[in-house]
Symmetry: C2
Subunit: 194 residues, 2 copies
């Protein structure tokens, strides 16, 4: 009796290998054939899981977003009101987080011509916003945020800051060291009173 194929593990393996290849060569240069070769599968098997690079990119993007969520969860498990830590879990402070931002940049480029990708990007932003809003609410309850602070505009500001900072840090890591990013966020949180 042949061993049952673990489809989910195969999908994850393909996503992982494709992430590596795209990280190295860029989405444009990578072919489904190369991805299949790296995984030791036929192109037919790979296209059974992902009909085209587009589907694969969507999964790569979601995997990067999921890694960010896991980092945030780890921060909030220690302290549900750690706003600085939450933002640091997202920012490209190290090679691992920068890699996820590289995935986002690639996805953004495609999302500009793809309404479904654009909607996915909006959902991820909303989800990040909801997390920040919850953390600020926790801080308000425990008196760690300025009384009377309006959370909604603060969240909008923080999302703008996070994305702007990530773009700068990705291209100018010499200026935007991890410490410089941390300090910028700390100043911002102090100014916002949260």
């Amino acid at each position: 009796m042949p061993a049952a194929v673990d489809h989910e593990s195969r999908r994850q393996q393909i996503v992982r290998l494709a992430t590596d290849l795209i990280d190295e060569l860029g989405l444009e240069a990578v072919t489904m054939r190369q991805i299949a070769a790296a995984a030791g599968f036929s192109t037919t098997i790979v296209t059974h899981y992902f009909a085209a690079k587009r589907d694969l990119l969507l999964h790569i993007y979601r995997a990067a977003a999921r890694r960010t969520e896991i980092r945030i969860d780890a921060v909030l498990e220690r302290d549900a009101g750690d706003l600085q830590g939450t933002i640091e879990a997202i920012l490209p402070l190290d090679a691992v987080r920068l890699r996820d931002w590289k995935v986002y940049f690639t996805f953004w480029d495609s999302a500009l011509r793809d309404p479904a990708f654009s909607a996915e990007q909006r959902e991820q932003l909303d989800s990040a916003g909801a997390i920040l809003q919850r953390v600020i609410a926790t801080r308000l309850q425990s008196g760690r945020a300025r009384r009377g602070l309006d959370a909604a505009p603060a969240v909008r500001r923080l999302l703008v800051i996070i994305q702007g900072l990530a773009v700068q840090a990705a291209f100018d890591p010499g200026r935007w060291t991890a410490q410089a990013q941390r300090d910028f966020v700390a100043d911002e949180l102090a100014a916002l009173g949260c």
Copy 2:
């Protein structure tokens, strides 16, 4: 006697047509052959001017950056201290400016794997920073900015805000209308005291 070929005008024509094609189809999908066909040239002529898509993308990026500079110059010619106007000239407030940001996103994706592109991106950022610094200096001289304002950190903040806002606006134009972007910048400038 054959008419002299105007190489500069040909180059510009190719860049223009390639910008349209990439805007519509994405960098990945567009071929040098398609660009040549759109221009009515042979692929050989196009590759005489631009050896590969990479060279073309660099020129497309520079053309977008140049358009932004021209918009900024027009603002500063009217009022050398118009900081809000300078930032609005950069932000994706309308279809024309959004198109330039789409070029930037495509370029960023390539820049992550290309040190020369990454250096170019840093240069453009430095150049934008120098312009903002000059406008703030003008405002300080004429008493339109808060006395004692430290321009350097204000410029760093504004660059972060501009890039963060542009990314959000590109994917969520419903939330980030032109007015919402303008208001965000006005609030920021008021808070910074410049």
